[in-house]
Each structure stands twice: as C-alpha cells, then as structure tokens.
Amino acid sequence: MAKGIVIFNEDICKGCALCTTNCPVNIVVLDTSRINQKGYHPATLSDPDKCIGCANCAMMCPDNVITVERF
C-alpha cells in the first residue's frame, strides 16, 4: 500500500529524467507513450502503489514539476 502521492504538473515537465535517477522503489519513469504541450515525454509513476513519499524525485526536479504528499 502506498505511503505517498506524487503529483506531476505535467505541462511544465521538460522530460529531463533527473527525477527517475534516485527513486528507492524505481517507479518514476518518463511516459514515452505521450508528449506534453512543451513537446517532452512527461515524468510519471509506473506503479503509484509502491510510492513511499520520500520526495527524492521532487528534490531532483529542476522545474518544480512535482508535489509530494505523505500519509
């Protein structure tokens, strides 16, 4: 069961993938099936249920795309 919720402000994501590098449960990925209004593959979670709410992804994001909440 998830301990955290990650909210992506997807429209402003630049698809740099820095958020994907330090997830302890390896669930932050770029969604290569979609393109956002900036023209990038936006970041998303592959398996939200596994999120522990550590906010490492948000810490690495240079563009303030990510908000993290924890139970």
């Binding site: 630049k14 590098t21 490492n56 810490m59 563009d63 303030n64 908000t67």
Partner: protein
C-alpha cells in the same frame, strides 16, 4: 496526509528558460527555499549575473537588480551599503565570477561585505554556446578548447573556494554539489548557513555549487550528473573551507 514537498513561495510562477536537466533550476529552488524558511523574502534584494542565469530576476520572488557581466559583487556592495538591514545576495556562474569578475569577487570578500554569493560552477560557458571557462577541467573539450583543455596553453582550472578561503573577510566558504538528493540536502544546509552568517553580520559568505550543463557537455541530463560526480568532484572537492568559528 501531509504535503512533504511543494514549490516554494520564494520562486515566481515563471517557467525557466533553462535547458532540460540543467541544475540551475535546483539551485534556484534551494536559494528560494532558504529565503522563505528564514522569512526574509520581503527583505531581500538579489543580484542577477550575465550568463545562463541572466534572467534569474524573473524567477526569484523578491526585489532584484541585474548586473553587468562579473560585476554582481560590486552591485551587491552598493545595495548592501545603502540598505545595511536588508539581505543581499548575488547569483553568479563561473564565467561571470571566475573569469571577468575575479577582481569583484576577491574584493567583496576582502572588504568582508555582508552579502551572500551563490557561485554556480559547471566548468563551461553555457549561454554563449559552450566555450572554455577558467573552471573547465584538463582534457575537457569545449568550443574554444576543441582538442581538450591543455594546461600548456590555457593553464589550470581555478579553484575559487580554496582561493577565497585564504581571505580573512570571507567567513563562510563551502563547496557543495547537486548530483543526488543527499548532496542537494547538504547544499541547502550550506546555503542556509551562508545566509545566516549574513544575518548575523559576520562577513562575506559564498557557496560554490557544482552544477551540470548537459547541452554543452553533450550528454543526457542523467549522464551529466554522473560526469559531475566522476570528474568534477575529484578536482573540486566538496566540503566546508571556512566557517565563522574558524574565521579570524
């Protein structure tokens, strides 16, 4: 349910012009978070440089002044002397601070100006298209060192923090990095300490932040983090070089 991470009020809503994966965005956020946490956003005047972060005045949610290339420490001096009770910081890259602005950064430290400087070192000129910086590593290829930096021709990379730490007026000097979450947490601590030193009126403080330039290094943002860790940190060791306790 608790929000554990959200965008700081220290930044405006303006989306940055930085390339994808450029760590300027992380460093901006850390400075802004510190200003918010210290509750000084309304008492702060920042000075933006010339270089990639030339538009920093659009991103920091406080009064800002745009400086000429390299002159941010002089501009900050003028502001701080006019407004001694305000918080004044300069945000500068390596071309700005370590090349054209070496006199200004040395003398702002020498005068022990009570300001804080955030020095972003990514070993290259970003805005102008990837030319060699004084901080470019030996062997590193840039558009003006196309065969790799050769110390016989261009000398050696400049270690600014070590140099400034020799100056009595510089009371807080630390080099940090932003290549992983642990490093980012340490970087924020150092930035906060540097501003606290200013608030306590102790003298000049600088935090050198090792940063990436994926575009001009010619690699993905993720690989750039690895390149920073493997190549920059060995030459530019992280750590505190000076804190008020040991300052004379």
């Amino acid at each position: 349910m608790a929000v554990v991470f959200q965008k700081t009020k220290g930044l405006t809503d303006k989306q940055t012009h930085y390339c994808p994966g450029c760590t300027h965005g992380i460093i901006h956020r850390l400075v802004a978070e510190v200003l918010e946490e210290l509750d000084v956003l309304g008492e702060t005047v920042g000075v933006a440089p010339v270089g990639c972060s030339v538009l920093a005045y659009e991103y920091f949610n406080c009064d800002m002044q745009e400086a000429a290339h390299g002159r941010a420490p002089a501009v900050a001096t003028g502001i701080k002397r006019a407004l001694p009770d305000k918080v004044v910081f300069s945000y500068q890259g390596d071309g700005d601070l370590a090349s054209i602005g070496t006199a200004e950064i040395v003398h702002v430290a020498h005068r022990a100006e009570k300001i804080t400087t955030i020095f972003v070192n990514n070993a290259i000129y970003g805005m102008t298209g990837g030319q060699m910086a004084p901080t470019t590593l030996i062997g590193q290829k840039t558009t003006t060192s196309p065969y790799g930096r050769d110390s016989n021709i261009t000398g050696f990379p400049l270690r600014i923090s070590e140099m400034l730490a020799t100056i009595d007026g510089a009371v807080f000097v630390e080099r940090v990095s932003v290549h992983n979450p642990a490093a980012i947490r340490k970087a924020k601590k150092a930035i906060k300490k540097a501003f606290e030193v200013q608030l306590e009126g102790k003298g000049f403080g600088i935090v050198e932040v090792l940063s990436t330039c994926p575009t001009n290094w010619g690699m993905t943002p993720v690989n750039a983090l690895g390149w920073l860790e493997e190549n920059m940190i060995p030459y530019y060791p992280l750590g505190n070089f000076k804190s008020p306790e040991e300052a004379k």
